[in-house]
Symmetry: C2
Subunit: 228 residues, 2 copies
DNA sequence: CAAAATAGAGAGCACTGCTCTTGACTCCGG
DNA sequence: CCGGAGTCAAGAGCAGTGCTCTCTATTTTG
């Protein structure tokens, strides 16, 4: 077995190195990752890469999953670092962590939340990691309701919307009122609109003080969801 | 002059046809537009295209500008079709028009609001057309304040944010209070987060009733900006 | 009517993802 | 311990890409 596992170990290291090099290329050259360039950087010929990843899309998928995990880690760590009772502080911490990670890894962020690559369909493996960030953000609301520190709004929801949200709540946030979930999703949506606008240069000409603007915008949504 | 203008006319028609074919390719094949494919569809050789567009990026820029104009037209028409005093009706009309246009032209929407193409920087010509949609949406707030039908919130803004917003208001929305502008931009941001999530498949598994969800989400932001 | 400008074709360069074959190396069971 | 099996990297090659350059018609213009 040790003989076999030394091969397996080398192979695993190889895969890790390919991913690392690919991530570096992603960061410097943008989203159009070139397999051949990665191979060149590793002193291999391009066809050798196919021993480890059956196609370029599979490499991209691996990078996407790792990026989701990295973002999820960053967001959850930020949340965990704040006193559980300080709901507003947690909200801001999560939002800021997401933006900070995005600014530090723009190409990977674009991979996750930018326009989908034409021929590429995200495989199922990405679904769970993709849920971690919103789970963390909306988990704050769940905690707030459970602690009686958020009074759920009494928005009247159209029946189909209420049903959809009830389904989501049942699966992911048991006990979270539908109307509050709706507001939370508005905050979640606005957060990624904000980050995208920021990252994709849409605020460049008009908003010089990006950090303060971001905080104020997320504070508006914190108000909307009723954080004390 | 007529002799010269017949050539100019043919040339203009040629440019239009190239753009039309390119738009068709964009719609069917996604964002990775191939010059050679466009040339093939027109019965030309690829190098002939370069008589009309100096590079692929210039073709893309032309398409982007036209797309902004089309979105701007759709949004402004939707706004104009509603009674000026019906602020909330106008808000919903504008939001729906933006989403409807995006759903009808997903590839062009991705070109405008998706991740930026790596080597490509949007030229200045795109700035003005790009401003039309947010101008329309936030114009509703300006009208509401002017008519005394919106009472501006008294959020306290950090000084740098207030200054940035004052600058924007001075240039584009004279008389619009900074705090209200901030909330309006939150609505604008959330709108495009919503559309992006919808279009890029992020809501696929969780929200079956997309239309109703969209209306409710934009209604939340209408509340936030204080529409009666 | 000749000169100048323009349109299109064709070849070619450097690049891409991907496949297939070929030769070398490592591992494992008899 | 040694021979078959599995694994790995290399190289050639295919079809595609954006783009440039040259050459030949055609049209416009002085």
């Amino acid at each position: 077995m040790p003989a076999s596992s030394i091969r397996a170990r080398v192979r695993a290291e190889m895969i890790d190195e390919i991913k690392a090099v690919a991530r570096r290329h992603l960061a410097s050259d943008g989203a159009d990752l070139s397999l051949r360039a990665v191979a060149r950087d590793m002193g291999m010929v391009s066809s050798a890469i196919y021993r480890y990843f059956p196609s370029r899309d599979d490499l991209l998928t691996a990078l996407i999953i790792e990026a989701y995990q990295a973002l999820g880690d960053a967001v959850e760590a930020a949340d965990a670092a704040v006193d559980r009772a300080d709901l507003r502080g947690r909200w801001h911490a999560v939002c800021r962590a997401a933006r900070t990670w995005a600014l530090a890894h723009p190409a990977e962020y674009a991979l996750l939340y930018g326009s989908p690559v034409p021929g590429y369909a995200a495989p199922v493996d990405t679904v769970l990691p993709a849920q971690r960030p919103p789970l963390t953000l909306l988990g704050i609301l769940r905690d707030g309701v459970a602690a009686g520190r958020i009074t759920p709004p009494d928005d009247d929801l159209p029946e189909p919307v209420r049903a959809d949200l009830a389904e989501i709540a049942a699966g992911l946030f048991p006990g979270l009122p539908e109307a509050l979930l709706a507001r939370g999703m508005a905050g979640w949506t606005q957060l990624f609109g904000l980050i995208s606008f920021d990252l994709f240069g849409r605020l460049d000409p008009v908003v010089p003080h990006r950090d303060a603007y971001f905080d104020h915008q997320t504070a508006l949504m914190a108000d909307l969801v009723g954080l004390p």
